[in-house]
């Protein structure tokens, strides 16, 4: 049977993608950010998954105001990096896993999560920046990501976004779905976005290290408490775009301890301010 072996949490700041793509990784501004992912790249090589279930949000890229799914799961064979206005990132296309994705969709819908199934979409920095951070730079044509990826997009753009509790429960449903898949697959689940940041208005640039580090603490040992944080607290404490952190709760809800198993092992934790407008947080948990 398939099983979730680890979860990864990371910010997906677009400027990190730009720094990678424009060869700025050795600038003093960016060095501490990429240093925080040195361990992670090694860990990825030593713990190569068969599939990554990658929770992210679309930033008005694949989904305009014409259609806004709360939860969208990609069941396509492949996805192209999107042109977000600066031209597409020079990274490999993303290969999907239609069979496992469809299986998860079917199982999770039958567990009363009202997913939207998507077979055609481009993927933006929300999905590709975490892949670059964790897998290192790849040639867009000759290179490839290490394994298939199932994109799972969460609406955090137009309010109301799903609650942290809903996301945490969804993670549990995803774990059940993965474990009911016959093939023997090691699956990673990644939660991306955050940490504290605000991109709009006179309050832009807000950072809250205390909130972020408390959130990381809770994620390690008491995710149910993190799931209880109401939307308004993210806005007030972590900035209007800090709400992206609810996506981390989907990944966290899929870990074994939530279903009565032992606490996950903390393999890596990293926090740095700033990358562009954002506090970068990163955590690797193993079942």
């Amino acid at each position: 049977m398939a099983r979730i072996t680890a979860s990864v949490y990371t910010s997906h700041v677009p400027a990190i993608g730009a720094a990678l793509d424009l060869g700025k990784t050795h600038e003093p501004y960016w060095q501490p950010v990429f240093k925080g992912y040195e361990y992670s790249k090694q860990w990825m090589k030593e713990n190569k998954p068969d599939v990554i279930f990658l929770v992210y949000n679309d930033h008005a890229t694949a989904f305009s105001l014409d259609i806004i799914p709360t939860f969208a799961i990609g069941t396509a064979a492949e996805y192209q990096p999107a042109d977000e206005g600066w031209g597409p990132r020079p990274v490999p296309k993303v290969i999907g896993h239609p069979e496992l994705a469809s299986h998860i969709a079917q199982s999770v819908i039958q567990q009363d999560f009202d997913l939207t199934i998507v077979n055609k979409m481009d993927v933006d920095h929300g999905l590709t920046v975490p892949l670059s951070l964790m897998c290192g730079e790849q040639d867009p044509v000759k290179g490839a990501w290490p394994c298939p990826v199932i994109p799972f997009a969460v609406n955090v753009v137009q309010y109301p976004v799903p609650s942290g509790r809903r996301c945490f429960n969804l993670g549990q449903a995803i774990r059940k779905a993965v474990e009911s898949y016959d093939e023997d697959l090691k699956v990673h689940i990644w939660g991306t976005g955050g940490m504290s940041h605000q991109l709009q208005g006179p309050r832009a640039g807000l950072i809250n290290k205390d909130f972020d580090n408390r959130f990381l603490d809770l994620l390690e040992t008491n995710p149910a408490a993190a799931a209880d944080i109401p939307h308004i607290d993210y806005v007030r404490e972590a900035g209007s775009e800090g709400i992206e952190l609810v996506m981390w709760l989907i990944a966290r809800g899929a870990m074994a301890d939530v279903a009565g198993g032992p606490l996950p092992k903390v393999k890596h934790r990293f926090f740095h301010v700033p990358a562009s407008n954002t506090a970068v947080g990163h955590l690797i948990l193993e079942n």
Binding site: P14, A15, A18, Y29, H59, A60, T61, S64, L65, D66, A82, D83, E84, G85, W86, G87, V157, Q158, Y159, P160, S196, Q198, L199, Q200, G201, P202, R203, A204, G205, L206, I207, N208, K209, D210, F211, H231, I232, V235, R236, E237, A238, G239, S240, E241, V273, P274, S276, N277, A279
Partner: protein, 124 residues
């Protein structure tokens, strides 16, 4: 009673909810069109003419022409949509965000390097 909207009282912050989305529909859809290289070219060539192809209010068009992002947001724009204008101009997200704060680009950048804006900002 109507729905509770506690997010209305957060200082310096506009939450993009259904009301904002309705107001900003065409402004945001115009922004989406800038994801295509040929549309970015057409917009750059004659901004006013390109804007006039969209069912936006005159106020929205003026706010775009002035690159007044705060005004765009007040008129229903959302930052992820508006970012397509900045991308067309070759601006980074940091330049865009900074432009809404009344700070210079350097001041904003330094604030971020020094740990960002205090989360207590604007609170009583």
């Amino acid at each position: 009673m109507a729905l509770d909207k506690p997010y209305k009282d957060v200082p310096g912050t506009t939450i993009f909810d259904a009301d904002q989305s309705r107001k900003g529909y065409w402004l945001n859809q115009f922004c989406m069109s800038l994801m295509k290289a040929e549309n970015r070219e057409r917009f750059k060539k004659d901004e006013r003419a390109y804007l006039d192809e969209w069912a936006m209010s005159e106020e929205q068009k003026q706010a775009v022409l002035a690159r007044d992002l705060n005004r765009c947001i007040a008129l229903g724009g959302n930052i992820y949509f508006l970012a397509k204008i900045g991308a067309t101009d070759g601006k980074s997200f940091q330049q865009m965000a900074g432009s809404m704060t009344g700070m210079s680009e350097e001041e904003y950048r330094n604030m971020m390097i020094n740990g960002g804006r205090d989360p207590k900002w604007g609170r009583s």
